[in-house]
């Protein structure tokens, strides 16, 4: 019989965020919780077929992610790997967003203390109609993923790697029109719209040699189905093996769907420091969206490994976020505390 591997993550804890939509003590995770099935078949001559099916769910309620997302929200992909690289079809994180997780101090984990979701790709992701990797998809479906897409990862050549990702123009289920540069009566993207240009995501990386490279850099660009673009560059550096310093810069261009205030810039600096069985995470970043006061975020986290697969964590974060009343010319402090357990299997 075949050699299917079952893998996953459960992350559960309690957290509290002041000046947010829900300021009560809540149960929830810091990382995505996953239950995945993966396998590969050796085809000879270094060629193999491979697949991933990854369920995302909420440990605290037992439901699939946000109750609305696809069963295999994590990814569903099948393809071939060989000397030419890896080619896969299906649904998954975009190539650029997969790359940037290595350059973000919370490793791309989508929580308040992290920087990937809320600071680096926010606006692009959720703040604006037409944002996100799949804005023409079903409601609640958007985020950081392409459906109906193709992925290509080149082999690593002298430290260089190229990652390409091309979406289709299919109807992905847009239920509510996106007004964009149109009007309520004649929205730019009526319900059921298909992409007019192919969505894509591309990243190029260079890493120093070794399994734990001393440094690495990336540059990439992405265009979603409403032709919003996101460009990003970044680097990390390890002065000593225990310390990883990192930084990234991104620029988002919403001019295809907005007449004014169409640019968002963000930058993040961070560090990961291994101390005994612990890991300290630190980050500071800013997001500058046209027509809004800046968002500023500072976060510190500690992971205490109690085994190779299990750690306890504590995150503390403070954000200055625009007040919810537009025009957001003033901001307010949002304090976030989280404490939990993270288990891989």
């Amino acid at each position: 019989q075949s050699n299917v591997v079952i893998y996953g993550t459960l992350d559960a804890g309690i957290h509290k965020t002041s000046n947010s939509a829900n300021t009560a003590i809540q149960e929830g995770g810091r990382d995505n919780s996953k239950l995945g099935f993966r396998g590969q078949e050796d085809l000879g001559n270094g060629l193999k077929a491979l697949f991933h099916l990854e369920i995302r769910y909420e440990v605290d309620t037992g439901n699939i992610e946000r109750s609305t997302r696809p069963l295999f929200q994590g990814q569903s992909r099948v393809g071939l790997q060989g000397g030419f690289g890896t080619v896969r079809l299906g649904r998954a994180l975009t190539s650029l967003q997969e790359t940037t997780t290595q350059f973000e101090p919370w490793s791309g984990m989508p929580n308040v203390a992290g920087f990937q979701t809320d600071l680096m790709v926010a606006g692009y992701r959720a703040a604006v109609s037409g944002s996100g990797s799949d804005p023409l998809g079903a409601a609640g479906n958007s985020g950081n993923r392409f459906a109906n897409a193709l992925w290509y990862n080149s082999p690593v050549f002298n430290g260089f790697q190229l990652n390409l990702n091309l979406g289709s123009k299919e109807n992905n289920g847009l239920a509510t029109a996106i007004v964009g540069r149109g009007t309520t009566v004649a929205p730019q993207y009526p319900a059921g719209s298909r992409a007019q240009a192919y969505p894509y995501s591309v990243s190029a990386t260079y890493s120093a040699p070794g399994t734990m490279p001393q440094y690495a850099v990336y540059a990439g660009s992405e265009r979603n189905s409403t032709e919003v673009k996101w460009h990003s560059v970044g680097a990390y550096y390890r002065p000593i093996p225990a310390l990883k310093l990192m930084g990234s810069y991104g620029r988002q261009d919403m001019s295809h769907i907005r007449a004014i205030n169409d640019t968002m810039k963000s930058w993040v600096l961070g560090a990961n420091y291994n101390v005994g069985v612990g890991l300290v995470r630190f980050g500071y970043g800013q997001r500058d969206t046209d027509g809004e006061v800046k968002t500023k975020e500072i976060s510190v986290g500690y992971e205490h490994n109690i085994s190779p697969r299990t750690y306890l964590y504590l995150d503390l974060s403070q954000k200055k976020v625009p007040t919810s009343t537009a025009p957001a010319s003033s901001n307010m402090n949002q304090n976030h505390y989280a404490l939990g357990i993270h288990h891989n299997f």
Copy 2:
């Protein structure tokens, strides 16, 4: 790779219940059908991390339980176990309801012939808006479980064990207001309400020594998110190893959401008798709800084990239930027949 265990149950059969909402011959199970994934990681010094993810579904339709419940309706929990006991976070059966399954003649299986769902916690569960363990949860979601909760099971100390369970005050998705002691215009719990007091469930048990104790007793109490309370005590006794006699009593206090008729009492007596490869189940119980005629139930069941993991079963039950026309001052006979197969894997 990790040692994930896949386990589960399929229960399918045919049943017929007279004087019920559907009196046709129906296909369906006697027990919950499950597909679960569980694992543990040894952390040394007797400490371990452990998790459970349990899908509930209907064998007859292939759908998730009631088509509306969370994917991992059975449970989704992660935590640590050691000399201090077991601590877990997530969603699962409440501590008290987990305890009472051992003292109920149908082992807590949720079917018409059993007593746990319909007789012991009915009213508390489903008959009244605001009942159930999670009445402020999404529609169809209620039942015997807490989401967003913490569980603690103490070590067994001289036969004694304590089980604690604390829910959060999170918004669990109440879609339709619960009028309760308010009015239609000003309901006690408007849509989207959060709990005003922390839901909890607690049970204490004492068991005689051995893997098949000669006797055991429990006492426990539970408060749901609308502050309805349920108190219960019970015991079992084995005069000979093949025979288990059991009884329990419960009292429910709905005064927080009802001005009148706020009390429900119930008691159940039962026996389990092993005869060769078979098991006979017997039970009799009554429920006395304020302002209603009593519900009386008598049931007998037989399980024929054709292997360690598979049995065939037959259940016969007669209930005197209140007629559906309120005030339910008269009752009617409801006869129930079920025949099926139960397979564990």
Copy 3:
């Protein structure tokens, strides 16, 4: 621990169909994608308990099949197998449709190039309200399956086998009335209707000896929950081991729900030819629905096996289909191209 087997299929590719609802290049599969769990328990004396739980999903979006179908849309069945044959309860493909997959040139795979879904059981399946195996089921749920049903497969006796399948009259969730021979005001099947007669499906097969029989024949009949009937016969023949020639004929009787145009006839001829590591599929068929011009379909496909579990494929198909404007007295050409990868695990 038990011996659960995880199995499945991922099929992903790109396809394009002219003169269809969506003529863009699309990503999608040729075959159903599956993730299944199955197991069996040896009960001694040749008796065993067995189960199947099979998730169906779309690789391109990560969602469950059509976003609306039951989690275990593939099948959820449990039962016993022994000298008497196999008895199972649950949800699965009907007995007749399971049989016909062996006599159809695309092995019953539900794609445009194949003949089973669109040509042999179309109309019966989807074109008409009240069609499909489960027309009184929840929307999007219909298709080729019975829920709440019983299956019996006889032992093979001198090459003969009998397959029986009986559905229940349960309410399977019909949300929108089926007018049928009634009126909008008094529809034949109001929302929530139950079947008035038991749905059934039956097939009988005869196969020549051996694991790769030189020839086989079948005859069968099916009645769905709205009493639409489908009768079908077919045969295959292998003049040489590498070549399988096949043909089938079907007749559908919709007189229970239609006053006029109540008959649909269809026939398919096809061939499968193994050439080296490749397989060529060819088919031609016609469907003659009362009151409509004929549908004619010709298809050719090639599968290139790159391993025992993985193949690449190419399908080309041309259909003459009725124009969408009723009365469909004229037809148009629909050209279909598909290219993809099919991986079993």
